[in-house]
Symmetry: C2
Subunit: 138 residues, 2 copies
């Protein structure tokens, strides 16, 4: 089940555990992000955070997202040429992408896997595999 609007101290603890100083802006951002499992672009997050009154600047949204990614709290998903999504579900998994609406959905199946992967170019190691299934309305 999803966590609903986690309280400040809970989020603060999460940030501290990942070596991030829990400032006011970061708490507001993290609260919005981790209120549920979701995929948000920087712009969507900005709107969400400032919906009541302006609290955080655009630049801080970007910098905080980059920080959270570096610390492993969110994962970048690059599918849409227009914007990067940040996924609050950081365990490796794959995605459905609705090309009409631009919506991104997790593929829950753990059965999903790649078969027949050729050997890598010499001297290279595999860092990860991303599978995106593009879908649209019938």
């Amino acid at each position: 089940m999803e966590t609903q609007t986690p309280d400040r101290s809970h989020v603060a603890e999460l940030l501290r555990q990942h070596d991030i100083i829990p400032t006011h802006q970061r708490l507001v951002i993290a609260k919005a992000l981790f209120s549920r499992r979701q995929h948000l672009s920087a712009d969507q997050l900005l709107a969400l955070v400032n919906q009541e009154h302006s609290e955080v600047s655009k630049a801080t949204i970007y910098n905080t997202l980059n920080l959270l990614e570096k610390k492993g709290l969110v994962r970048e998903v690059i599918i849409d040429p227009d914007r990067v999504f940040y996924d609050t579900y950081t365990i490796p998994h794959h995605h459905f992408f609705d090309v009409d609406s631009g919506m991104l959905m997790d593929i829950e199946s753990e059965e999903l896997r790649v078969e027949g992967l050729p050997k890598l170019p010499p001297g290279m190691i595999q860092e990860g595999v991303d599978i995106v299934v593009r879908i649209r309305h019938q």
Copy 2:
């Protein structure tokens, strides 16, 4: 084997076959693009086209790439948050992405496939599957 620097009339024919009026700018762009199988960003293509003397504007590069994509002559590949790549090899296939250098390589294997794909959300149809294997130096 790759085609080497196709001549103007050959490229012009290719464009005409795809309902594109072969203007000077488009010929210069298409010649550079289709000289070999490759992955180029708009910026890389701009540099390539204008390396001797400035012949085509940035906007025209973008507009022409969009046109070629619409007409099925190139394929967009979205992997790097910083730029869209255009792939001159339009048959469906997958990619290695070198996260250090930002280089994109085709996966030649036809064995490669996805297993265990769950059923799609109701009312949706599958448009395609993209697999990206992220790799880096050991």
